[in-house]
């Protein structure tokens, strides 16, 4: 693992967010500042407003101090219809040429930050946007931010010149108790790994990687990637609630995750086949706590967390469509591609509608 300081771009102080600015030097020979991130994927905020952004292409996590760019003109997040077309237009292209890779809400301003890849294939470039409470969209000048980064451990390439086609896709980030947690998938090893590294990133902390096995239902133990997860607390002990592909919900106490060792999580629900979880948030309503989980093919699920501590581990084959901790399907939320918690009573989502993607603030169900 390595750490590096992101160079502070020598930009005019006035060029804060929009990158509009009166560059008065001759244009000829001017060079665009290269973005420090080679790609941008999942985002998460720390409680102090530090933005953690995954750069899957570089298998790195960046901690970005947004500084003045944390704040839009208005607090909150207003609805934006045709978000994909608008972001694409600002990037000088069409909606089909961009991929929205994540959505995260700033914990203080409640502005929404949207990560985007512009272009096709290996030539695609990263961009980061902020949407404020008036629906104003600003492009964040990432290269002008101050921050640090850490690189995830890459499995060794053994052969001296063996062709290495491995790539790392990072599926989810979360910040909890001073550590950044990372779930990822490789295009070669089908393994279940969670990394975590303390923040501030330092050379002394190389981060830890834990392999979590899924004890399934015929006394067979297999590997399967944890796709989405959320830090959680049971009896004041830190836990991770993770959702695997196809779609067991599993809990594991952080204290048991010993670096370099394998660990078997406890399955507390089976949420259905042919599906992957997208996002999870925790929220309170009417004095009860819920996990809201969006999925690719099984809609949005509202899961009471009251039973998580005492849930009976699923150790026998589930013959019904789902099993374990009960949930309620939120029929009003459809086509959800990204989801985060906006405030105590709202969620913000990016949803597929006819003709494009809309950013909307919705009441928490």
């Amino acid at each position: 693992m390595r750490n590096r300081l992101i160079p502070i771009a020598a930009l005019l102080a006035l060029v804060a967010v929009t990158a509009y600015g009166p560059a008065t030097a001759r244009l000829a020979g001017a060079v665009e500042t290269a973005p420090s991130l080679s790609s941008i994927g999942p985002l998460t905020f720390g409680p102090d407003g530090m933005l953690y952004a995954a750069d899957p292409q570089a298998a790195s996590i960046f901690a970005l101090d947004l500084g003045a760019q944390a704040n839009g003109g208005a607090a909150g997040t207003a609805n934006v219809a045709g978000l994909d077309q608008k972001l694409a237009a600002m990037l000088g292209t069409a909606a089909g040429e961009i991929q929205i890779t994540d959505l995260a809400v700033h914990p203080k301003t409640h502005n929404s930050f949207v990560s985007v890849m512009r272009g096709q294939g290996a030539a695609a470039k990263p961009a980061l946007f902020r949407v404020d409470g008036a629906g104003k969209i600003d492009l964040v000048a990432v290269e002008s931010l101050k921050g640090t980064s850490v690189t995830l451990p890459n499995p060794p390439s053994g052969a001296a010149n063996g062709r290495n086609n491995r790539s790392q896709s990072i599926t989810k980030l979360a910040f909890s108790n001073g550590r950044v947690w990372v779930a990822g998938l490789s295009n070669e090893e089908f393994a279940s790994k969670l990394w975590s590294v303390g923040y501030p990133f330092s050379k002394a902390d190389a981060g830890t990687s834990v392999e979590i096995y899924h004890g399934n239902h015929q006394q067979l133990e297999t590997r399967s990637p944890v796709y989405a997860f959320v830090p959680y607390s049971i009896d004041n002990q830190p836990y991770i609630i993770g959702a695997y592909l196809c779609t067991p919900l599993v809990k594991f106490p952080v204290s048991s995750l010993t670096p370099g060792a394998k660990f078997r999580g406890t399955t507390i629900a089976e949420l259905g086949a042919g599906n992957r979880p997208i996002d999870m948030i925790l929220y309170q309503k009417n004095g009860k706590e819920f996990l809201l989980m969006s999925n690719t093919s099984r809609g949005v699920m509202k899961i009471p967390t009251a039973g998580f501590a005492s849930a009976t581990p699923i150790t026998a084959p589930v013959t019904s469509e789902t099993g374990g901790v009960p949930y309620e399907k939120v029929a009003s939320m459809t086509g959800i591609q990204q989801l985060d918690k906006l405030d105590a009573t709202h969620t913000v989502v990016i949803a597929q509608v006819a003709g494009g993607l809309n950013l909307s603030a919705l009441d928490l169900p």
Binding site: L14, T18, A19, Y20, G21, P22, A23, T24, A25, R26, L27, A28, G29, V31, E32, Q57, G82, A89, L91, G92, T93, A94, E97, G119, Q120, G121, K125, G158, A159, A160, N161, G162, R163, N165, R166, S167, S169, T171, N187, E188, E189, F190, N216, H217, Q218, E221, T222, R223, S224, Y227, C246, K262, E270, A273, G274, N275, T296, P317, V318, E321
Partner: protein
């Protein structure tokens, strides 16, 4: 002429010139204003220029600092016509010695139309003429479908019933789209096998976007969990299947594949045993030569992992440099050293991540019976020794 070279050329789609009327004695002399698209060069991407501004107008623009003023003066939007609610292209404004320039933060797309609107009424000393607009576009890339599927791994005639993943290799870089909309698994009757693959549009491309990893749905491959019980495995031993790749899958230039791709194969029994290095046949070449060392496996290993998870070390643990070729449907690993072999002991090193196509690793099957297996300590790597001897011994 390469595509990239072509892309560097530009056209001026329209040049609109106006002449200021010059009725106001305080404004600069009447000069024709033009909007032009300038070619990119080196690290400088193509940019838009407004020419015809007087030296005094350029001087006053240099003193301008408010971003919103620039936008009211010169605005670039995507498309041939102004669309309500569509924000302008983000970019940088610069005043050169002879013009006002706008460089987009991300290079203009070849072939895409951009509407450039310039309003002289928002000059520091407004001109009386009305706004001008011009549609500009870079030359579209001259491209035709040429990209093809070059291989699918495992490449053997028979795939294990519990095969975990396929690698699809292409002759040129592909676009962003994943495989799910473009790859079908067909049974012997030509019928689609329902939902055979992992329902995940993740980025399983290699860095160059020339190889895509397509995972079978592990919920169906693994035993004893719900998808497996409900639907069974996607492929059944004893039957034939066809993988079909649609030509509608677009490459990095937005072109479809030159042709659809089909491959037929048989499916054999599930492979559930852990790998064992003792089953590998090692054929050491004679010392003093650069003949390849051949390691033969009883069955194919995973193509991607085999390319990088095996290595050689010599006396004292020094790594041996050489070139690797995978042969015979990934059942053979051929290693040709950069320097001639020396007599003595060598070791084949297998990283613990090495797997067969069904996910079985050395000493650990993909699925482990928890009632029989003791907890195993994670391994970094496994080694097996062999000796190189001089010819004639």
């Amino acid at each position: 002429m390469s595509r990239r070279f072509l892309a560097a050329w530009f056209v001026v789609a329209a040049v609109v010139a106006i002449v200021a009327c010059g009725r106001n004695a305080t404004v600069p002399p009447a000069v024709a204003l033009s909007v032009v698209l300038r070619a990119g060069s080196g690290a400088q991407p193509a940019y838009v220029e407004v020419t015809g501004l007087s030296q005094s107008e350029l001087s006053s623009l240099r003193a301008r600092h408010d971003a919103s003023d620039w936008l009211s003066l010169l605005k670039v939007t995507v498309g041939e016509t102004a669309t309500d609610g569509l924000p302008p292209v983000q970019g940088r404004y610069a005043v050169t010695e002879s013009a006002l320039a706008f460089t987009p933060l991300f290079p203009f797309d070849p072939g895409r139309a951009y509407l450039v609107a310039f309003d002289p009424a928002h000059l520091p000393h407004p001109r009386q003429s009305g706004p001008i607009s011009s549609v500009v576009r870079l030359t579209a890339l001259a491209s035709s479908p040429t990209t093809t599927v070059t291989a699918i791994y495992p490449s053997g005639d028979v795939l294990a019933e519990n095969t975990l993943r396929l690698y699809l290799e292409f002759s040129a870089p592909m676009g962003n789209a994943g495989a799910l909309d473009f790859v079908r698994l067909l049974d012997e009757r030509g019928q689609d096998v329902p939902v055979p693959f992992l329902p995940l549009q993740a980025d399983f491309w290699n860095a160059e976007h020339t190889r895509y990893t397509l995972f079978f749905d592990p919920g169906r491959v693994k035993q004893g969990i719900l998808p497996n019980q409900q639907l069974g495995r996607p492929m059944i031993a004893g039957h034939q299947y066809t993988i079909e790749v649609s030509a509608d899958w677009h490459d990095a230039h937005g072109q479809p594949l030159a042709a659809p791709y089909r491959r037929r194969f048989r499916v054999g029994p599930a492979e559930t045993r852990p790998l064992s290095m003792t089953n590998w046949r090692i054929a050491p070449p004679p010392a003093g030569t650069r003949e390849p060392l051949i390691v033969t496996f009883p069955a194919a290993l995973d193509h991607g992992l085999l390319s990088r998870a095996l290595a050689l070390e010599g006396a004292g643990g020094a790594s041996v440099d050489g070139d690797v070729v995978l042969e015979a449907g990934d059942t053979r690993w051929a290693f040709r050293p950069r320097s001639p072999w020396s007599p003595g002991e060598y070791r084949v090193i297998a990283q613990a991540i090495l797997e067969d196509p069904a996910g079985n690793r050395i000493g650990r099957a993909f699925e482990v019976d928890m009632t029989r297996s003791a907890a195993d300590a994670p391994h970094e790597a496994f080694r097996r020794s062999f000796r190189i001897v001089s010819a004639g011994f």
